[in-house]
Amino acid sequence: MNDRTTTAPPVLDVRDVTVRFAGLTALDAVSLTVEPGTVHAVIGPNGAGKSTCFNVLSGLCRPAAGAVTLGGTELTRLAPHRIAALGVARTFQNIVTTHGTVADNLMLGRHALTRAGFAATALRLPGAVREQREHLARAREIAELTGLGAHFDSPVALLSYGDRKRVELARALCLEPRVLLLDEPVAGMNAAERARTAEVVGELRTELGLSIVLVEHDMGLVMRLADDVTVLDFGRSIAHGTPDEVRRDPEVLRAYLGTDTRGEDAA
């Protein structure tokens, strides 16, 4: 069922992607490469184009120029559901769960992996029933993995904020993704919840070998988890490197802290 994760994920390559919204250039020739099995953080101030970048990766937004490829497949021309079928899963910055229980949401996450159609489901043919049962078992495993086991049959609306954030993460994992896009997975969480989510993300990389692209404002989390960091500012990629390199980069300091005296000296 999860044969995808046993092979190394392909390289996710973003080449010179440009996105314009009615005159505003949201992304300006941005390039980045996510090596298999690494955590690649995309950081930047508000409005830097991080979420737009995710929307391009998941097919919700067509770039005006540039290309995104996963292994040998070009993603830029594909509809979102085709990209999902290739094993690219994402979470959203604002929680987007559907009505119903945690189980319903996680089973929705397995949509791309399941086949039962309208007729088979309506008539409850044995194949559809068996498929549902098998995938429900796997969804329960993933709920346990992400610390949602106790809430598996609870309506999502009754869960705490942190738990609903985790439902999104679990739902993305239910796709058995090869590439996982996390849009601010710990935003709005308290310290304990952050630590728990960070732990889960760390485990995902080491145990499942996923490639993870992470958009996050929490620098502590980024520095701890990321192998590579790309910094965006006003739609442009202003720095790239390991967390330590990026932390010392004068352009990054300028973008985050405003014009810095040392920066002026250097200029």
Binding site: S58, G59, L60, A79, P80, H81, A84, A85, A89, R90, F92, V96, T97, T98, H99, G100, D104, M107, L108, G109, H111, A112, L113, T114, A116, G117, F118, T121, A122, L123, R124, A128, E131, Q132, A150, D153, S154, L158, R171, L175
Partner: protein, 365 residues
Amino acid sequence: MVCLAVALCLPPFYLDAFWLRIGLFAMAAAIGAVGLALLTGTAGQLSLGHAFFLATGAYGYTWLAGEPGPGLPPALAALLAVLLAGAAGGLFSPVAGRVKGIYLGIATLALVFLGHHVLLTADSVTGGFNGRSVPPFTLGGFTFGAGDPELTVLGVPFGAEERLWFLGLALFAFTWFTARGLLRGRPGRALAALRDSETAAAVMGVDVARHRSAAFVVSSMYAGLAGVLLALSFRRVVPDYFSLVLSVDYLAMIVIGGLGSVAGATAGAVFVTALPLLMTRYADQLPLVAAPGSADGSVGPTEAARYLYGAAIVLVLLYAPDGLHGLARRARDRIRRRRPRAPATDPALSPPQPAATARSKEHTP
């Protein structure tokens, strides 16, 4: 569940044809309403074209089984009529797959007017303004009509209504079985996700356009099935029945019943169907309602029923936006919550152990 099934089999032995006919109309309406609930309640797509698909089923059966027409065996004609309604929905799928929500509602308006026009003008198939009589349903030599063969069960003569009751019950049970399976399975989850967030659904791998069209086709097929049963119960199909008002009636059913639930759609269908008929029957006993046919300017029973269910819709929207289904669920929750507080009552009345554990499980956060 078994008790309910048995209870539903009893009416033909105790009630006269008037009540059975109300039951038949309600069952037909419930089948159609379940289809609309799937489209509007679950997938969030508004349709005002339900009357068109009901008409497709009703006229499709009448023509396919009748004379003039191919005169097919009625069971085959019924099946084909349902498929025909589905195909009609499929033809509309380029629109149904792309247009969403209230915009689809406006687009489907066209279908009702188009359908009504065709029903009036295509005389050779539809019988024009006066409609056609519906050939009775037969299955393996058994006629679901009066006589042929004469049948008396437990001392009750089985006429058309008694026989159709069981046919209706079977079709209704089939509708419940399939619709609940759909809602709890993969397609139902995908449709609910489309309603709640199209982007999230797409990113989860749901093919948005395909699922929207499929929901429309499935909804049309239920409407077609409802149309067949309606035609059989009326024994005559006339174009004026399948007007925009009928589509609005079905929307009223699913709103009153509670959007997106099979039980709710059924309850709403029973309410909206039975109310006018009951009011007509008991008009003379109701205050402020004139007897049917009197022309002294007072409120007739049909109008009174319209007022009453107009008021019911307003009340539901104000006080129970989740409809009868939501009301029932909240009442059930309240009873459950009250029970554990009064454990000193008769032990026979206290809930059995498995139910108690299920309840406590539900309330742990």
